[in-house]
Subunit: 594 residues, 2 copies
């Protein structure tokens, strides 16, 4: 079962749900030619279907091997990677000064969904490289940029991000890897990192590691962390590759999924210390990390969207093929495809609606991040930055949560075949399971949403967004389209719940922080369910305005309605869970530790 | 990480939540001595911790092998099985006339939870044997019982249930395996079955297969299916083992989980036909299957409970051990166990509350099934049978759905370690994933609940249960215990939603069946969330009445409160999903097939 990029859905989400078209019209995208969007997505979809999707199962079955410090990837993977970077896909949103195409992040977001859907373990490698590019571009010296940036942007070399250590996961400040100043201005780094994605591989000649470490005289905690660039192979002055640096993959994890993506333990210092170069200032490494966190978290959210869409496409195809039983009221011999059964329809609609909502949330995040750097007007940029910051934890956590739910539904639609690995449905579930964990667990995202994003400026970012969403609901109601069913009232109720809950949390975030924290996870779900419902309704209205050219506009109305009536409808219950259950959550020790 | 049976929780659930104590007092259990319950569970827990739990990971890693028609189980498994049956565990609820201990099904249900929690792939084998025992005991001839029943009850031989064929899964009536009458009164069976659990193994000398097949002159569909007993090895008149019968494992599945449980393709007829013996009457095989379906479905529900509890215990231990960050407001060096964080508390409470509710629902189902055969009064028996029939699909589907949710939360609590197979959290998720599928998918359970159980007698079974649940809520409110928080109002709202939704569905189940079917899945969830909330509140009241002897009674109040405020609170949203979204579900083709 292959994958076809759902270009119509993606374009509607990007241009209308996420507001790319309006932002371009408002001039926030400078000279970006929006006409190329469809062509880029078509080409990306073609590459994904032809090259990446067929390797997805190969990678799962073969996994990777660690042999004498070297990671060997699955058959066909190095070749696919080289074709991928040669075709320019790594450089889509990279800065033009260093060979990038300078396209908006929003376009790259749609591409990221495509890579993740076709082959999530493959797509993860360039996601990390993108973070490395961002860190280097924003904080690296001109000299380092000159040597490394172009090759990272082209994809000739890949990047890694190395934060985690055994005692330092979510608590990055607890890391112990040490860096010593060397006389030549470089540094020698010694230590061990774990869970390093693509820490080693055989797809490129060199790998550029970005490693957090601590100087001998550094303050404790996150204020004493510095960021270093450590190449696998040192680079000579003429740009040619030099000696092997003292950073090695010393182990790989045996994981539930993502088998084709090496997850390495990296050891530095067995031969005197890895040679590293400071990025930004000493002890300011966390700030460098924060600048790129939005994009990395969005990238993982898009993995959730991608895997959800892949699981949906596969389940839909199965449901149209597999015959069991008859439709209600149909007599005679033979059997019907299981898609005739209402319960199967419900599962498929749930999968599709959740996927579509998460897609638009992610794309809208990308558009906000784009405007925050591209718009001419400083106020527009700053408002977009606040919007992007607000949406990022939702894009990450909601999308990866639903990625898992949709992948699990995909298994269910397949019945007993879903539990058999050869079917492929189970792989999506296994692969998806890491996405709510890495790049900040979804619990961390929820806490970030409550304590930083909601609380910023007394909730101003949230109130601004609520205003926009309310205007969508007004347009739904004004449309007088009976096909919307109870979409309008459901979204109104959801918005009211979101507003009340936001206020309740704001009142407690400093005065009763444990009460606010206890509700963080249901709050994020409430936010995503409300936001997603409004965005899908907005897309349905846009599809109607576009007319038949955008496919069948009625389908988007039914999809929005399904979401509002099944997902957004949960908002009042989630409101009560946040507000009423803080006491039970914080009294949990009596239950858990008895 | 091992497993300890939560004896206090289980006894409270069994005796009070599920009503065993009251039923015993009312005389419905005859001469059953309830004093032995605790001792049986203690012993089962000890065996599970000592013997079965350590083999859980061994089984996952080694899996099974098919070599020359023979399935080889994982190291230590045959020995463990023999110890298990020698200790009498297979015979707990078997009829005394054939060597069983004749204990209530409710006791065996608690034991089934224990086997499933400690080693779900192991526990699955006796679950199938139990179904075989039930079929043979209820429908087999005296001669067949004499030869086979005692050995199945002791566990000296195991049983299989063979329904599924490639084209006949949920649609059993589509099966094609053929049976021909032989002159000696036996039959010759030819055909292929798939997904046959423990279809072959090396843990016992013989295996007794129960196979659905079709006679040459049988009517089409489910009315033309007969049930046959087919021994792996024929049995001589003196009870000794004879020739190898013509039924072989010709393939095994490569599955997401349950690696230690062989899932076989069974081929009959390569050597002239497997010799089989009719169970019940010709063409009445489906009725034989139906009589044992309640117990088999309950058994799978208990697998959901067991895997959930195992995942919870493992996550709780990790959260007490793993240190990251500080509790809010705590300054200074060092870090705290992650259980101090409210979001982690929430995850653990969610896991524990869902598990406790599903446990009681399953135990209550077992008590109803017990009373339906044990009570002296025919009216009591018939009401209990209706209650058992009503609860069975909920016990199966709600428990296995939450089994997956809890296992997934268990992975999440572990963070990155959860994705690493050696941790063991991922195995629970993989193993759990089949339980919503087999023994009737959860979609089938939901449809059964709406179309058969709710609709029976115009909803009388549901109204009777609602009355009992309402009286629990009244007692919660009368308790005036502020620790219950908003439990009372939440359960009242949930009961009102359940009543309205039940009525709405009843009105449509014949007049607009597709509308009723579209809401089946959210209806079952609504039912489970309401029922579970009331049952946990009932247990909390009972714990208070029992006083300190039942552990800390306050913990059960907090647990019930958490469930009501986070799970039961979803009832009004689920009500709306059933009622409002039927149109969007049944209009899904416009979205899915566009």
């Amino acid at each position: 079962m292959t994958y076809r990029a759902p270009i119509n859905d993606m374009l509607l989400a990007l241009n209308h749900g996420a507001g790319l078209e309006a932002a371009v019209k408002a001039g926030h995208y400078g000279d970006f030619d929006a006409d190329i969007t469809a062509a880029v997505l078509e080409e990306a979809g073609k590459f994904a279907s032809d090259v990446l999707a067929p390797l997805n199962r190969v990678g799962d079955e073969h996994g990777i091997k660690l042999e004498a410090d070297k990671v060997i990837t699955a058959p066909g993977w190095p070749d696919a990677y080289q074709r991928w970077s040669a075709a320019g896909w790594n450089a889509v949103s990279g800065p033009e000064a260093f060979g990038g195409q300078g396209l908006p992040l929003a376009i790259n977001a749609a591409c990221t969904e495509i890579w993740s859907a076709s082959n999530i373990a493959f797509g993860l490698c360039p996601l990390l490289t993108l973070s490395a590019i961002e860190a280097l571009d924003a904080h690296g010296s001109a000299e380092l940029k000159k040597i490394y940036l172009e090759k990272l942007i082209s994809g000739e070399w890949t990047g890694t991000m190395q934060l985690t250590e055994p005692q330092a996961g979510s608590d990055v400040g607890a890391l112990r890897t040490r860096a010593e100043r060397a006389p030549d201005g470089s540094y020698r780094i010694k230590g061990t990192k774990i869970f390093i994605t693509y820490g080693d591989h055989d797809m490129t000649d060199n790998i550029v590691h970005f490693v957090l470490a601590r100087l001998p005289d550094a303050p404790a905690g996150t204020k004493g962390i510095s960021l270093f660039l450590i190449p696998k192979l040192l680079v000579n002055a003429d740009g040619s590759l030099g000696l092997r640096n003292d950073i090695y993959a010393s182990g790989v994890e045996h994981k539930l999924g993502m088998h084709a993506s090496p997850t390495c333990t990296m050891t530095m210092g067995d031969k005197g210390g890895a040679i590293g170069y400071l990025i930004g200032e000493e002890n300011k490494g966390m700030q460098c990390m924060f600048t790129m966190m939005n994009q990395a978290r969005l990238g993982v959210g898009l993995e959730g969207v991608g895997i959800a869409d892949r699981a949906y496409q596969q389940a839909l195809a199965f449901a149209q093929e597999r015959r069991q039983g008859r439709a209600v009221g149909k007599a005679g011999d033979g059997s019907d495809p299981i898609i005739v059964h209402p319960d199967v329809k419900r599962m498929l609609m749930q999968m599709r609606a959740l996927t579509a909502a998460a897609r638009t949330i992610c794309y809208a995040t990308a558009v906000a991040l784009d405007i925050s750097v591209r718009a001419k007007d400083a106020k527009v940029r700053s408002e977009a930055a606040a919007r992007g910051a607000l949406l990022t934890p939702i894009a990450k956590a909601f999308s990866t949560d639903i990625g898992n739910e949709v992948a699990s539904l995909g298994v269910q639609v397949h019945g007993g075949m879903g539990f058999v690995e050869e079917t492929g449905a189970a792989q999506h579930l296994r692969d998806a399971r890491i996405t709510p964990i890495y790049e900040g667990t979804n619990g961390i995202q929820s806490i970030d949403l409550v304590t930083r994003k909601l609380a910023a400026n007394g909730g101003a970012s949230v109130w601004g967004l609520l205003g926009e969403l309310t205007s969508i609901v007004k347009r739904v109601e004004a449309s007088n389209n009976p096909a919307f069913g109870t979409t309008g009232p459901k979204l109104r109720d959801a918005l009211a719940s979101l507003e009340r809950t936001s206020k309740w949390l704001l009142e407690r975030v400093t005065s009763a922080p444990n009460d606010a924290l206890a509700g963080a996870t249901p709050y994020l779900r409430l936010f995503g369910s409300t936001l997603g419902g409004c965005m899908l309704a907005n897309e349905a209205l846009a599809a109607r305005d576009l007319g038949e050219g955008a496919g069948d506009p009625a389908r988007y109305v039914t999809l929005a309605r399904f979401f509002a009536e099944n997902i957004s409808v949960q908002a009042p219950s989630l409101e009560r869970a946040v507000i009423d259950s803080a006491e039970a959550v914080n009294g949990a020790d009596a239950v858990l530790l008895a």
